[in-house]
């Protein structure tokens, strides 16, 4: 239904509504002045409607805005913008309403208006816009896939190969990354930890694979040559032994990845750390797989076990989300498929997984899906939606929904 306003020939811009006009209309409308509070707000459309946008604030966003006062839109020109608080990312969607929403600055509500009888007063209020749409927010997972690609542009290959001028393309400070990835600051910090980035001259870098292997091998060699137990590695001595070969910030980074505190100290007060088997085996396994298209599984298992320090035991579970194997093929094979390189889009990801291998057990496929899961959508419900489940001898397998 449309409400027609009184002819604007009478009420043009120069029209000033008076208390007398207001009272007259109350009378015409057969209302009693004493039944109405003594303040009337007289509504006009503003001379111009500024270009405002209305955003419906999610509770989380509202809280963040009140606490930190900061909301940021992120995305490059080609992206669909997202909105970020300090720790969450939201998709912005346009919503429509068939009603007209009139936006009125300084509008007084009943509780702002005196209740007692008195001489009538008027206040002019301007409607600064008529809205039929507003923006809604929906929390999403941060869009972080480009992060690794950005960091791969200039991997760290050792101090002698560092470029002098790092102001150009391929070098990213936190601020610069926040401009190009769609994630909140906290989500970005988590992601930088996940991709094992470290900071050199305030730029985020990842280690070049071969360089990473060299540093780790030297370190493991040092542990071996000193016959240090794998859970009693003195960090101070390691650092001073290796600092002739590698910069301290690289060593600190490597130690941070591969060591965890044991709680013990040497007699001289050097802190003892434990080598994390899972991390060491996983990296060395992926390093072996990387240059090869497919590896004979049995050859791989032998080479891999030989590559890790004595006392560590390799196991295929350590390669979850990193390698695919077909134990039933002839010969049994294994090859690299890094979860972090897969697309974020669910359907695209499943297409790649099922073309790599027709059917997967839950334990095999779960590491490739778990990063897509949210509080609202578990790994299982994603699998139900995007895969076909079958049962072979009591083992559950997942394959493409529209299998060939």
């Amino acid at each position: 239904m449309n409400i027609e306003m009184v002819d604007n020939k009478t009420f043009n811009r120069s029209y000033e509504r008076t208390i007398k006009d207001v009272c007259q209309v109350i009378h015409h409308a057969k209302l009693e002045e004493k039944d109405l509070r003594p303040l009337t707000q007289v509504l006009y459309f503003a001379e111009e409607f500024p270009d405002y946008k209305i955003l419906e604030l999610d509770k989380e966003v509202f809280k963040c805005l009140k606490e930190s006062g900061k909301l940021v839109f992120r995305g490059q020109k080609t992206d669909k913008a997202v909105l970020c608080t300090n720790n969450k990312t939201f998709d912005i969607k346009e919503a429509e309403t068939s009603n007209s929403m009139l936006l009125v600055p300084n509008l007084k509500f009943a509780e702002d208006v005196p209740v007692e009888l008195g001489d009538r007063d008027i206040e002019e209020k301007e409607i600064v816009g008529v809205y039929h749409e507003y923006f809604e927010l929906k929390q999403i997972r941060p869009r972080l896939l480009p992060l690794r690609n950005f960091l791969k542009m200039k991997p760290y290959k050792g101090i002698e190969l560092e470029e002098e001028d790092q102001s150009g393309e391929g070098y990213f400070s936190t601020e610069k990354l926040l401009e190009v990835v769609q994630a909140s600051e906290e989500e970005l910090v988590d992601a930088l930890r996940d991709v094992q980035a470290f900071s050199v001259n305030d730029k985020w870098r990842i280690l070049d694979n071969d360089y990473h292997f060299r540093v780790l091998s030297q370190f493991l060699g040092l542990v071996e040559s000193n016959s240090w137990p794998l859970d009693q590695v003195p960090i101070g001595e390691s650092l001073s032994e290796l600092s002739a070969l590698f910069p301290d910030y690289v060593l600190h980074h490597i130690f941070q990845i591969y060591l965890e505190p044991s709680g013990d100290y040497t007699d001289t007060g050097d802190e003892l750390f434990r080598l994390v088997d899972y991390k060491v085996c996983r990296f060395l396994g992926s390093y072996l797989l990387r240059p090869v298209e497919k590896f004979n599984l049995n050859d791989f298992l032998r080479t891999w076990q030989d590559s890790v320090p004595e006392g560590m035991i390799t196991s295929l579970e350590q390669l979850g989300g990193l390698a695919v194997l077909t134990p039933d093929s002839r010969p049994p094979a294994i090859w690299l498929l890094d979860e972090e390189d897969l697309p974020e889009d669910f359907q695209e990801r499943f297409t790649i997984l099922f073309s790599a291998k027709e059917s997967w057990t839950y334990d095999e496929i779960q590491p490739y899906i778990k990063r897509l899961a949210t509080e609202k959508q578990s790994v299982n419900s994603i699998l139900t939606k995007y895969s076909r489940t079958s049962n072979v001898n009591g083992v559950r397998y997942h394959s493409a929904r529209h299998g060939k």
Binding site: D35, R37, L65, K70
Partner: protein
């Protein structure tokens, strides 16, 4: 794209804007632009419930104040060569909704 805040504006006085929601569209009788036109008178009844009462043209509308479970932020786009910035002008956490069919006023309003 960058930053969306200018807190001082609403930190001092955050809830001073409101929304009046009506069904359908508001039209000027001669189909002209809405800008600068007079719209109507907004009253609240004396009773404690303070029913909002809007008189627009020849119609009287009774409404209701509704708190917004999810408040609205009013944002103003500020564009420079390099960045697009949204300034939060105000927060709206209540609205007046007029969804009951308007009642016509029988008597003629002066000026018509």
């Amino acid at each position: 794209m960058v930053l969306a805040s200018n807190l001082q504006i609403w930190k001092d006085n955050p809830y001073t804007w409101g929304i009046i929601e009506v069904q359908g569209d508001l039209e000027s009788r001669n189909g002209g632009a809405l800008q600068s036109q007079f719209v109507g008178d907004l009253h609240y009844v004396m009773q404690s419930n303070g029913v909002p009462t809007l008189i627009v043209g020849h119609h009287i509308l009774y409404g209701k104040a509704i708190p917004l479970e999810k408040p609205f932020a009013v944002m103003e786009k500020k564009k420079t060569d390099i960045t697009t910035e949204y300034i939060i002008k105000a927060l709206v956490d209540k609205k007046l909704v007029f969804k009951i069919r308007p009642k016509p006023i029988i008597a003629a309003v002066p000026g018509c």
